[in-house]
Symmetry: C2
Amino acid sequence: MFPPLPTELLQLLLKSEIAIGDFAIDATAGNGHDTVFLAQAVGENGKVLAIDIQKQAIDSTTARLENAGLRDRVHLHHGCHSELAKIAGEQRPRAIVFNLGYLPGGDHNLITQTEKTLKAISAAWEILISGGLLAVVCYPGHDGGGDEAAAVEFLITSFADHHTARYGMLYNEKPAPFLLLSRKLG
Amino acid sequence: MFPPLPTELLQLLLKSEIAIGDFAIDATAGNGHDTVFLAQAVGENGKVLAIDIQKQAIDSTTARLENAGLRDRVHLHHGCHSELAKIAGEQRPRAIVFNLGYLPGGDHNLITQTEKTLKAISAAWEILISGGLLAVVCYPGHDGGGDEAAAVEFLITSFADHHTARYGMLYNEKPAPFLLLSRKLG
């Protein structure tokens, strides 16, 4: 699709940055699309940690990984992504992906909570390797999504030594989803 | 580079959209980087029209094309891009690229003029084939570039049947260059 959707651009650009054997984190597993993408990108010797607070998302991601024959590369964690540094342990990831908002097909009242999102993104930035990549898809058109999106953009651009781009569709009526892409330079 | 610069993303995304044998227009030839890119993308049977109002840009683009062995595929026109519909004649392009601002290495007082830029972009949209692509790199950090960038963004999102994305770096201090990418749906 041209121009690509933010989620499409995310995969297009990350694909050539993640190397075989890498460790990557999907901080919002959701229906598992990005988890499967990351599991493919890290290859047979790589590892992915996928986190979601909803049991339905963990189940859906598990099924998608099993269908793709990629279940072995992924550690699934049912819990809050604000704990991601603890969950990741000693391993430092090359890439961390967040896709905010609600679970597609799930309960739209269960959305990411701004305070926990900010805590999770700060922790993600801390544990990334130098040169590592952070990608966040924000949904300012959703209820509560506008404040969350603005807070996330403010947080990321306040990090030291970041190189960040923003990509989003331009709709005429309502705020459109956008993608923040950052490289940690320090 | 991750994340890519706007000019890098432009080429990355256009590459797979332009087919062998296509007709494409570089409405601001400048130093010829995009002209060479387009001439490669359209292949041996394709054609490119490259326009610039500065003789220095036409010379620089000519030299770059000759070095790349691509001179034969390109019609160079020394004149104002606001006339591009007339210059293109009957041919309808699949893609049109604008890179606004001043000529790198040239006189920084010679910048694209907003009124002429808007006229050129409107004409470009008119002559694009259905499904065709418009890409505009804007420089809001340059003198006069902020107003021009805002006017271009407003114009493009006012077109009927456009599908548009915006990509830009997030700097902390000053407005950063950004790319507008549109597909003409109608």
